[in-house]
């Protein structure tokens, strides 16, 4: 019912999408797969009216259409869940969710009671309970993501484009989303789905299209792919192994956390971390994982509790302290506290380690350029030049820049909060290998992730957080997803 | 709560609204009013309209609710300040205008006529140039009553002398730095073609003077301002500035306060106390420096 014919998009002289033709059918889940920067989001944004194609046409129910703005596309029944979160921070959850389609009463006034009722109903359809009067800024990233999905569902569109909707979700919400997608499919809605999580594709998709470097590689029924063949199509080569084996033996204790507490977020968190150890932090959405690691990095200091670093009591009140003490961190909220959008890739990359490049506070630009060159190569960052503004990069590539930034000043303790969010399978494998290498070099890694396979495969130990309290410490070799979830579920 | 009526006779409460205390001339006038009020032992509510007629009306309204005995108004605008007088008169509070006129007639006017300043200045120029030559004029903020009237006065004189030509005129918003830049530009555009500059106040005259001095052209150009501020008098004394038009702040201030007391104590008073402008030149500057 929706057809893209030879769609082409050019940014700054570089084609990012070349003559891509695709067809989306009612009642079908069509997965779009590809590496970071392959052009998936760009394609979806053209179908949703955010970008205008530089070539090719879009056909809707057999008619050629032009979507000048998202409004046009929405009017035709095409809704989208965006890869980047789009909260309006000071409007409440209900107003965000039903933006542009607020229920009005006979006088033309917004009917607040109905607004909240409807919003709650949509959230409930995703198995989520949220206070819809909360301002959006108070939500965690995962909660915002759920609201974004509900926002698209509420449009009751005929085509829903989902750009990595589960990137920030934990299993519980993912399951609810899949149930909702099942319902949509049954209702004859066309779903276009992008993800970097392989298991999801095979659970959901009826058909799969693979994009590589802006070109359509193939479109086939999902059943005709195997995980390996799909990966091969995406990356253009075979990927030997995703998870490296955990071999390093942890060394002496580097970090001790004692009784860390912050009102309304977490209570009495105590653990130790050793050199070369990869410690996993698991939990459901809103369990407080982000808050705990934010406290360690000085982003949101704890109310009480002690942090001992290399045996010494240490006070960390701001990220600058943490960096000086040998911490490095990749934050969960890429857009909010990660990238500086208008700055170049190079300047974003070197920002946290700028001392290194400015002895006597004068910048050594050739050293910066050299560091950028090696980082773009090491992390396979796809940018037209180091001077390109980071906001023009694909989401996954932005994430890689942030990872590279955190590593540039060689931290002893690396905190990764959902580090593989939005990263393609090839790059994920590289990051996993990197974690392995870092751990072998003696770096302690604190890994927060909602992807349980990742946590199970990469870590030496797993801590489970439940509603702000540590509920278990598990050995990844002797546990499984079900056990972790059992400890994570609210009692 | 104390009541306003509890005042003893002779202990008058007078409201004074200054046009703009950040401009030197009106500030001096305000100071003179305050000094005289102290001398005569009356209570003064002193407010500043900051060149905003609307604000001046508000201040008059405040005076009315404070139940002052007399209001002295240093009007911002001819037309726009008139409602202030209407309001006061409706509340049966006598009003004295000081320094400039309004359309609505006050009970008493103490001051001088801005048009007269323009006439005196341009006459001085005409006399100096022998009725022949090119003149530049620097305006105050466009649309303000002092600008309008000084401009009108100057033009009346220009109309009388066919040989006197207004080569160019422009606003410098009463501001010395702006007049300095403007004169610098005029020197470029009209070099050697003008013999006199009339600035609507001394601030701007000082700016024009600086530009001419820096270009080494002062000896060819006659410069005259209005107000006789201290610096201008010094400059006249030193032979740098040719002339300024003296406006008697102290005389106006005293006159206003004295009339207020007469009116409040229901004694006969003069409806119009004119304190004339005088041209200050090197010859008579000493007598003004003493004041």
């Amino acid at each position: 019912m929706l057809r893209a014919f030879e769609l082409t998009k050019v940014f700054g002289g570089l084609p990012v999408l070349q003559r891509v033709s695709l067809e989306f059918r009612p009642g079908e889940v069509h997965a779009l797969m590809g590496e970071n920067g392959a052009g998936k989001s760009t394609l979806m944004k053209m179908l949703a009216g955010l970008y205008q194609p530089d070539g090719g046409i879009i056909e809707w129910r057999g008619q050629q259409v032009r979507f000048g703005s998202p409004q046009d596309a929405l009017a035709q029944g095409i809704a989208m869940v965006h890869q980047e979160l789009m909260p309006i921070p000071d409007l409440n959850v209900a107003e965000n969710l039903l933006l542009g389609m607020e229920p009005v009463n006979a006088l033309g006034w917004v009917d607040r009671a109905a607004l909240h009722q409807q919003a709650q109903a949509w959230l409930r359809s995703l198995d989520t309970e949220l206070d819809t009067t909360l301002p959006m800024r108070r939500l965690s990233v995962a909660q915002m993501q759920v609201v974004e999905i509900a926002k698209a569902l509420a449009r009751q569109a005929d085509v829903i484009l989902m750009d990595e909707p589960t990137a920030a979700l934990s299993d519980h919400e993912v399951a609810a989303l899949f149930k909702a997608i099942g319902t949509l499919r049954a209702r004859g809605v066309a779903v276009v789905y992008t993800t970097h999580k392989m298991d999801e594709v095979f659970r959901l998709a009826d058909r799969i299209s693979v994009l590589r470097d802006g070109q359509l590689v193939c479109t086939q029924a999902a059943s005709e792919f195997s995980p390996d063949s799909l990966i091969t199509h995406m990356v253009g080569r075979e990927l030997a192994q995703v998870f490296p084996p955990v071999v390093t033996q942890p060394g002496e204790t580097i970090l001790e956390v004692q009784g860390l507490t912050r009102a309304h977020a977490y209570r009495d968190i105590s653990f130790t971390l050793r050199r070369g150890e990869v410690l996993g932090l698991a939990g459901l959405m809103g369990a407080g994982r982000t808050e705990v690691v934010s406290a360690l990095f000085g982003l949101a200091p704890a109310d009480s509790g002690q942090i001992r670093l290399r045996g010494q009591p240490t006070r960390i009140t701001c990220p600058a302290d943490a960096l000086a003490a040998g911490f490095g961190m990749v934050t969960e909220d890429r857009k909010g506290s990660g990238i500086i959008p208008a700055m170049s890739v190079e300047h974003n990359l070197t920002l946290a380690a700028l001392e290194q490049f400015s002895p006597g506070s004068v910048l050594d630009r050739s050293a910066e350029a050299a560091a950028t060159r090696s980082a773009t190569a090491d992390f396979a960052i796809k940018a037209s030049s180091p001077q390109q503004a980071i906001r023009e990069l694909s989401g996954g590539n932005q994430q890689k820049v942030l990872l590279a930034r955190a590593l540039l000043h060689r931290p002893d303790i690396l905190i990764l909060d959902e580090p593989t969010r939005g990263i393609d399978i090839g790059a994920k494998a590289e990051i996993y290998a990197l974690i392995g290498r870092l751990s072998a070099q003696g770096t302690a890694v604190l890994l927060v992730s909602s992807e349980l396979p990742e946590i199970l495969a990469l870590t030496h130990r797993i801590l489970v957080l439940r509603q702000g309290e540590l509920s278990a410490e598990l050995n990844p070799r002797q546990t499984n997803q079900e056990e972790i979830l059992r400890h994570a579920m609210p009692q | 709560c104390k009541k306003a009526e509890a005042r003893k006779p002779g202990e008058w409460l007078v409201g004074y609204s200054s046009r703009d205390q950040s401009a030197e001339y009106t500030a001096r006038l305000g100071d003179a009013v305050q000094a005289r009020a102290k001398e005569r032992g009356i209570k003064l509510v002193f407010v500043d309209a900051q060149a905003d007629a609307q604000k001046q009306i508000s201040q008059t309204e405040n005076f009315i609710s404070q139940k002052v005995d007399v209001i002295i108004l240093n009007p911002c605008e001819v037309e726009a300040s008139s409602p202030a007088i209407d309001r006061a008169r409706a509340a049966k509070i006598p009003v004295i205008n000081v320094n400039s006129l309004t359309k609505a007639a006050p009970d008493c006017y103490v001051g001088s006529d801005d048009e007269q300043a323009g006439i005196l200045a341009m006459e001085a120029i005409a006399k100096k140039l022998g009725g022949q030559g090119n003149v530049l004029m620097i305006h105050g903020i466009m649309g303000q009553s002092a600008q309008i009237h000084r401009d009108a006065g100057a033009r009346k004189v220009l109309a009388k002398y066919p040989g006197l030509k207004l080569l160019d005129h422009q606003t410098a918003s009463w501001d010395r730095a702006k007049a300095l830049a403007l004169t610098e530009n005029w020197i470029q555009a009209h070099q050697g073609k003008f013999q006199a500059i009339f600035a609507h106040n001394d601030e701007m005259a000082m700016g024009a003077l600086l530009a001419l001095e820096r270009a080494g052209l002062k000896k060819d150009v006659y410069v005259i301002g209005v107000d006789a501020i201290a610096q201008a008098l010094d400059a006249v004394k030193a032979g740098r500035l040719d002339a300024t038009v003296f406006q008697d702040a102290v005389g106006q201030g005293r006159g206003a306060v004295d009339s207020a007391i007469l009116i409040a104590s229901k004694q006969p008073y003069e409806k119009e106390v004119m304190i004339p402008f005088q041209v200050v030149t090197r010859e008579n500057v000493d007598q003004f420096l003493k004041k």
Binding site: D90, L91, L99 | S18, F46, V47, Q54
Partner: protein, 315 residues
Amino acid sequence: MKAPSLHLDRNLLHRLGIVAVLLVIAGALSATTDSFATASNLTNVARQISINGILAVGVTFVLLTGGVDLSLGSVVALSGVVCALFAHPGEHSLVVPIGMGLLTGVACGLFNGVLVTRGGIAPFIVTLGMMTVARGLALILSGGKPVADMSPSLTNLAGDLGPLPIPLLCFGVVAGGSWLFLSRLRLGRHLYAVGGNEQAARAAGVSVPKVKLFAYGLCGLLTGLAGVVLAARITTGQPNAGQAYELDAIAAVVIGGTSLSGGVGSVLGTVLGVLLIGVINNGLDLLSVSSYYQAVIKGVIIVGAVWLDRRQARS
């Protein structure tokens, strides 16, 4: 319905710092002067805040979308001049001068809006340009002289209706209407959305240019109204009126908690900000504080009030 009253309370709570400062100042003034707490003086304050109030409510819309309008003062002067030009006694009926004044305001506002939305120029520059252009036009149209001789039927608009000053009624209607508009209408909520996150609003199908254009246009309309009220009050179209009015208006809005980056704020806060500025101006005059010290004190009180307010809002 419970939700709206809750909403009101929340906003009030947020602005508790300002209310406290307001009460303290009012209390101090009642204690130190005979005249502050009299009916006639309070009517005075009401009359005096009306023009700034109308402007402040107007510019609240623009600030909510993340824009700014520096042309308020000049457009007030221009609308006043245009209104006065059509207000000579016996020439036209009352609606003509009022209508022309409002129209002038709307035209300036829409022009700003078009340049911001279609032209993609920063609102600061657009409205700074409009500030000098409108001032120039006011001077050209009036020939540089105040436009006098306005018919009494128009200047009476600055008078009273029963016990209430008509300008205050205008302000009241404008503030009340705007409050309802912003809190109850979809377009009102969309204004917040555009200011809060333009991209997100666009992606959700809100027509961002339309919303912005509306905000500038409405602000222009209210600026025109302020111009007409001012002309009535000073019984002239004064081409150099309204100097720096934009600063007082924007200050009132920001004191009231509206963010200059858009998306946060309320008409209620704006009204409180307008009141605070009005009471300070009135009080300093009543106390006959020297104008040099007035400037210092006023600056300190405003910054202090906002500081208290934000501190309390955070805790």
